[in-house]
């Protein structure tokens, strides 16, 4: 049976981290399975966890009145979800819902914050990784806003 440290090692988010760091973080983690339709996180509720998706598909959604849940993007094996546990008030900004069976590692947000404060070198390394993914998601969201596949070319400074 694989240990949490072993599962952390397998996930791309932790690639290249020393074994000692993974052992250090492992006590924050637990292995979990979400069935289709179950929520990993709900908008406007306490953001207690950081999720490493091992397999399955997760929809990141927000609820729009009269339209229902609007899917902003899907996440897949190798992706991560959730950084609201990093910053006060530690409230999730979006829903995350399993579109099929999802296997994930779930790390406690408070536990991770404490580890990062205790070991700033590791904390900085993790922050760099979060920042890179957050930047990529921001870039993707900007490209989505451009509506590049539409029949009308995007005009600078305007949205449709």
């Amino acid at each position: 049976m694989k240990t949490i440290a072993h599962l952390l090692h397998e996930h791309p988010f932790f690639h290249g981290l020393p074994e000692s760091d993974l052992q250090f973080l492992a006590s924050c983690g637990e292995n979990c399975v979400y069935h289709k339709g179950e929520h990993l996180a709900r908008e406007n509720t306490p953001a207690k966890h950081f999720f490493l998706i091992r397999s399955g598909r997760v929809a990141v959604e927000t609820f729009v009145p009269n339209r229902g849940a609007l899917c902003l993007l899907t996440l897949h094996g190798g992706d991560i979800f959730g950084w609201s546990w990093l910053f006060p008030p530690y409230i999730s900004a979006f829903d995350a819902r399993a579109l099929e069976e999802v296997r994930s590692l779930r790390l406690g947000g408070a536990c991770l914050r404490e580890k990062c404060e205790t070991e700033p070198r590791l904390g900085f390394e993790l922050m760099k990784r979060f920042a890179q993914i957050a930047t990529e998601r921001l870039q993707s969201a900007r490209v989505q806003l451009l509506d590049i596949y539409g029949s009308n070319s995007p005009h600078p400074g305007t949205t449709q």
Binding site: A59, A69, C71, T74, S140, Q144
Partner: protein
């Protein structure tokens, strides 16, 4: 070059405003082309528009073109129905460098209507006529209802890897939701042994090129199909001049290494 007369033998509405015409030459004359090349389609009384080949079947004198109704000519083409005639000049331009793919992994990266010029390559892959070691298609579109070739795309995955990503979708959509660069980032590729063909909005191609370069795919192995306003199709009128090139004559397919210098110049 005088246009040949073709007849619409079938018309497929892909989604509102975008359609595929299947054309037959009255003499059943074959018109051989390289995928990536284009024809000038002449809507009588309106004008010509450059449209890429989007299907095989030339041996039977049949042409396939997928068109988005955007200007006066393409709107006139949209009005054509089975039995109607139009003029065809071509083929023109340089197509995809299929001679360079032997033994390599071929990544086809399409956005929106950009799938059309890559579709003949997909058909070749399905027929086992490509010498690539592996073929994977990444196709990005606005939403599920705006996907091209909806009926045949599911069949493609029996012969090649197919990843489809839509910018907007609901829970019933089984693929990715988000931009096409996301699934592209997630794949493992042997950069040195990979060749990539891109066709789609330039913004999309720019971001995809960044991903490919990070995966160590050489600039010399990245090819993209460019689009500009083409008029004469033989490099005389200058409408499609782009840097030192004419898209119609020197392209529309270019190697990124050769055009990088002006690909990122905003005013071109």
């Amino acid at each position: 070059m005088i246009p040949d007369i073709y007849t619409v033998v079938h018309r497929q509405e892909e989604y509102p405003g975008t359609f595929t015409l299947y054309l037959q030459n009255q003499e059943l004359k074959p018109l051989f082309f390289t995928p990536g090349q284009f024809n000038m389609l002449y809507a009588f009384g309106t004008g010509e528009s450059a449209i890429s080949f989007s299907g095989l079947g030339v041996e039977q004198g049949r042409l396939v073109h997928t068109i988005r109704a955007q200007g006066s000519v393409t709107r006139a083409l949209e009005r054509l129905r089975k039995g109607d005639s139009l003029g065809v000049r071509g083929p023109f331009g340089r197509g995809w460098p299929l001679e360079n793919i032997q033994g390599k992994e071929l990544l086809l990266i399409a956005g929106g209507l950009g799938l059309a010029p890559l579709r003949p390559i997909v058909h070749k892959a399905r027929e086992g006529k490509l010498e690539a070691s592996r073929v994977r298609l990444f196709y990005g579109a606005r939403r599920p209802s705006e996907l091209l070739y909806k009926e045949e795309v599911p069949r493609w995955s029996s012969k090649l890897g197919v990843v489809i990503s839509v910018d907007h979708g609901d829970g019933t959509w089984p693929g990715h939701i988000g931009v096409i660069t996301d699934p592209l980032k997630a794949i493992d590729v042997d950069g040195a042994n990979t060749i990539a063909f891109l066709c789609g909005p330039e913004v999309m191609m720019r971001f995809c090129i960044q991903v490919l370069l990070r995966k160590e795919v050489p600039e010399s192995a990245i090819y993209l199909s460019m689009e500009r306003n083409m008029k004469c199709a033989i490099g005389l009128c200058g409408h499609c001049q782009w840097g030192p090139n004419f898209i119609c004559k020197d392209g529309p397919v270019f190697c990124y290494r050769d055009i990088r210098a002006w690909f990122h110049i905003h005013s071109l």
